[in-house]
Amino acid sequence: MLESYFPVFVFILVGIAFGFAPVLTGLIVAPHRPDSEKLSPYECGFEAFEDARMKFDVRYYLIAIIFILFDLEVAFLLPWATIFKEIANTDSVRWFGFIEMMVFIAILVVGYLYAWAKGALDWE
């Protein structure tokens, strides 16, 4: 089974190499004649005068947590989809596989409607 992941491994290695190669080539090949103006953060314009760390609006957090919840829903859908035919072909539980997932989604839709009705998805 692990042999089938070898292409993925190769892709990871190629991806890393692809990221590092231009930077390394630039370091080795390009001429280096730095002066104080070139090394300054901005050649023109203001120097940074404020801390980059500032408070984020709490609404980003809300969007992130709603994203997590529906991400998890999709993660549950995947094994269900692979096994769905097999469950549907078992006589005793013919509709069972369908109904259980519909109940699962319906419960989550309640949360979605709540967030929508409360205006959590509006940004103003």
């Binding site: 089974m1 692990l2 992941y5 760390r53 408070k55 984020f56 709490v58 609404r59 980003y60 957090y61 809300l62 992130a64 947590i65 709603i66 994203f67 997590i68 919840l69 991400d71 998890l72 829903e73 993660a75 549950f76 995947l78 094994p79 269900w80 692979t82 096994i83 097999e86 469950i87 539980v93 596989g97 259980e100 997932m101 109940v103 699962f104 989604i105 419960i107 989550l108 309640v110 949360g111 979605y112 709540y114 967030a115 409360k118 205006g119 959590a120 103003e124």
Partner: protein, 200 residues
């Protein structure tokens, strides 16, 4: 098998290093990013254990979603970097006790197999079927009730997040055109008849 062992030790070394950096790096944003690295290598280790679905779920859910949440929390809290390390020695005894307890618990859980406390009940997936199907078969036939409970827990999560972060809507400054059109002059201006008063 030889190469597999090498990959395992390689991933484990990165995992331990990343986990150490999570708790030792001064910058909380760096700590969160090292946690991402730890999740990635842990999913690699799980892949070696042939737990494909769990490995993919770890990358999708934890790296993709949970870490976004962590980063937002870190950025939302106004953390003063200089004051983070204060009180390290004060917290050390309590932290050490908790760490010892956790190590003991994990030792009991993980070492149970070696001590002969119980036989491993983990079923090995057959060679011809994928891990995802094995999980799906169990989850959607035998463990349906916990599965539906999971959706209720997710619902509680949504409602709690909305209730905690939702604020009163800001007074909107836009105007409603139809209301403007139907406004009559007497609604806005009242002309009063007042007798002139005489000054004395």
């Amino acid at each position: 098998m030889e190469f597999k062992t090498f990959v395992f030790y390689f991933l484990s070394a990165i995992l331990v290093f990343a986990a150490l950096r999570v708790i030792t790096s001064r910058n909380p944003v760096h700590a969160a990013l090292f946690l991402v690295l730890a999740f990635f290598t842990a999913s690699g280790v799980w892949l070696l254990l042939q737990a494909e679905f769990l490995a993919m779920a770890l990358v999708l859910v934890y790296v993709g979603a949970v870490m976004v949440l962590f980063l937002f929390v870190v950025m939302m809290l106004d953390i003063n970097l200089d004051r983070l390390r204060e009180g390290f020695w004060g917290y050390l005894p309590m932290g050490a006790i908790i760490a010892l307890l956790m190590v003991g618990e994990m030792g009991l859980v993980l070492g149970g197999n070696y001590l002969g406390l119980f036989e491993s009940s983990v079923r090995q997936a057959g060679a011809d079927e994928s891990n995802v199907q094995a999980i799906g078969r169990l989850m959607f036939t035998e463990y349906v009730y916990p599965f539906e409970l999971a959706s209720v827990i997710l619902l509680v999560g949504i409602v709690a997040a909305v209730a905690l972060t939702q604020r009163e809507k800001r007074k909107n400054k836009s105007v409603n055109p139809s209301q403007q059109v139907f406004v009559k002059a007497r609604d806005r201006v009242r002309v009063l008849q007042m007798p002139a008063e005489k000054r004395d």
